[in-house]
Point group: C2
């Protein structure tokens, strides 16, 4: 007998048939003698529907009230899943985050879990109930409802795993694992069977949408394995863990990408201490999220500071950058939309020099111009024209994953 | 400055435009300097939609989980209404029953409010917020979600009025008051400006659906006035209160009716003490609600016991009655569907003899056969064939309200 924690995303509970399928799977586990805790998201489409209701009333609704509104989605899922399990003749009980004491910070729409009171869950597990918990949501010390932001249900799943002392959390979704590249872009992409936390974090941070960074961070910090797998196909997925088996070792684990990015350069920034901090503090104050920063390329005692961000924030960021450029005495600002970012991720990068040279070679053969290149210990990201994205991913996949030349 | 409590039903918050209209009304009150507390129901149609989702999974869903599911409806309304008030530049904060401590008994789907913790509401009123509370729902001592049953939001409104020491609770709905009869049946029906608690209770109990009995009982017990009025038309509605002004005095206050009833008679019941109790305990055990009981009409030491109930419970009730008839040695059971009930209600009935005679006279002229007649201090109910209902209401309205002959 062991403790099993499953998390099901919105597509897995989108309608009555799918809810019943999930219920069946949970009951089978229960019959094997496991203690079962399950986290569910809102039914697919419901969150958008609720957002539309809000938008019909206010262009900029209060974040507190948005959280009151959106937390209804998972509440619907947990009740329906409990009913489906009852229908199969087994005990199940549903809890919202407030009922089960998932305490968070008070930043509405992006709260962080601070603690989980597991008393009630343990009590119900001991009574042989399947315990169903609403994902994505939390409650502040003041009993206000919060949400955890994009991918929040994954984080709920892992946090429950930590609180209950589970070894592994299984995250069921509409894909059957993490791939070496987006299979829609690269038909040859292969499923990754095992991946380290660090690699998964870099993939997620650079565009792989399949698992949210925060849940991986939490798993990393607490050394819980995350098994990402399909709720529709019964196969092993991708295991995210601390050390990857030797068999699975590779220089490059996978290739992620991010479309519809924009680049903004502040030109001729005076080379003074603290000036980059001033620029990015100013931008952060406007809640603009930045994907990459590159500094350098200026002349003499002036630098160019370049950053990459989502295209839809471009106009606002350009205006803000012009303000700050004036304030700090920079020469000017220029930017462009229609860029994309492609990243190579793998722990092997640490010990392999010459990766950048190989990238330049691969892109050169395909006539792809690299706008910016930025690297960390286990990641190399290239900013390229949006139109060349597919070509670029394919070239990198052939060179680094398939081993072609 | 005074405390104002409004309650809005589902049709009043059915869509964004209506939510905005309610918000405007509340802000106007606030600008007059009042403290404003508002209770809202789920948007019209949403509860049915949620029930359909449950029915697609289970024919007989757990009541606990139904309450988890259904309480999302009001939670959506409170968030949207708060946003609409913010949009008008005013402070508002929304609370579910669990957040504001509306404690109830643990009978899921028909819980009773046991206490309300008003701390948070008072604190927010002091900070000049409009306080929005989800109607229809509560939470048990064990933090399980409950619902209060049909008309539960009215009860939430009145209970908040009691807890906060309000003099009056205004209940906004899609009709503009209580009428002397259903205006769809009797075009001459007039709005009742004032009505006593007892009369309102009898009207509600005998079929007037406009205000739920439990909210009136609660108002009665605590002597809070209930003002029932339209959210669409700006006019005075019906004031439910302790003593009705002399000006408003009438023998008959109004006529209620109830369609699609059925009659079941247990014939030849032995005339022994406690036998009626045995019959109706047995029926109550099957959760069958009875509208009227009449005993009498038998011969010698045998009685006939007749009761009226909703038509959709007829088959089940007939079976149960046959069981109990056998058990107690009654002669048999007979029954009929397609009956209706029409009731005259008014405190004047107490002191007026001859009301029954006038009813027989009025019905006689219209050739309407009275199957059963049952009266209390302030009410006379007649069971008649369903097909004669409209004719019967019209005849009684002309005779007792319009004063025609």
């Amino acid at each position: 007998m062991s403790l099993v924690i499953h998390k099901y995303g919105g597509t897995s509970v989108a309608n009555a048939e799918r809810v019943k399928t999930v219920a069946k799977k949970l009951v089978d586990l229960k019959l094997k003698g496991d203690d079962v805790v399950v986290v569910v998201s809102a039914p697919a489409g419901m969150t958008d529907e609720l957002i539309n209701r809000a938008k019909a009333i206010s262009k900029n609704p209060s974040k507190r009230e948005m959280d009151v509104l959106l937390t209804t989605g998972e509440q619907i899922s947990i009740a329906l899943l409990a009913m489906a399990i009852h229908e199969l003749g087994h005990d199940a009980v549903s809890y919202t985050a407030s009922q089960v004491g998932i305490r968070t910070t008070s930043q509405h729409s992006s709260a962080k879990i601070t603690s989980i009171d597991t008393c009630k869950i343990k009590e119900k597990l001991a009574e042989k109930h399947i315990v169903i918990v609403a994902g994505f949501q939390g409650v502040t010390a003041n009993n206000d409802f919060t949400t955890l932001g994009r991918g929040g249900s994954d984080t709920t799943g892992v946090a429950l795993g930590v609180a209950l002392g589970a070894k592994c959390v299984e995250i069921y979704t509409d894909v059957d694992g993490v791939y070496t590249a987006d299979p829609r872009m690269v038909p040859n992409a292969k499923k990754i069977h095992e991946i380290s936390y660090e690699e998964m974090l870099e993939l997620a941070a650079t565009g792989a949408k399949v698992l949210h960074s925060r849940s991986v961070e939490l798993a990393y910090k607490n050394n819980i394995e995350v098994h990402l797998r399909s709720s529709f196909v019964d196969s092993l997925g991708t295991l995210v863990k601390g050390k990857v088996d030797k068999m699975e070792e590779a220089i490059i684990r996978g290739i992620s990408h991010s479309e519809h990015e924009a680049r903004i350069s502040i030109l001729g920034v005076p080379d003074e201490p603290g000036i980059a901090a001033r620029i990015f503090n100013h931008i952060a104050k406007h809640n603009i999220n930045i994907d990459i920063i590159v500094q350098g390329g200026g002349i003499g005692d002036h630098n160019d500071v370049t950053y990459i961000l989502k295209e839809d924030l471009y106009e606002e960021a350009l205006k803000i950058s012009e303000e700050i450029a004036k304030e700090i005495g920079a020469k000017g600002v220029e930017g462009t939309k229609d860029v994309a970012m492609v990243s190579l991720v793998g722990v092997g990068i640490k010990s392999n020099s010459g990766i950048a040279a190989k990238i330049f070679d691969a892109f050169g053969k395909e006539n792809i111009n690299i706008d910016i290149i930025s690297s960390s210990e286990i990641k190399v990201s290239c900013v390229i024209p949006q139109k060349d994205l597919k070509k670029a991913i394919t070239a990198l996949h052939e060179r680094f994953i398939e081993g072609k030349n």
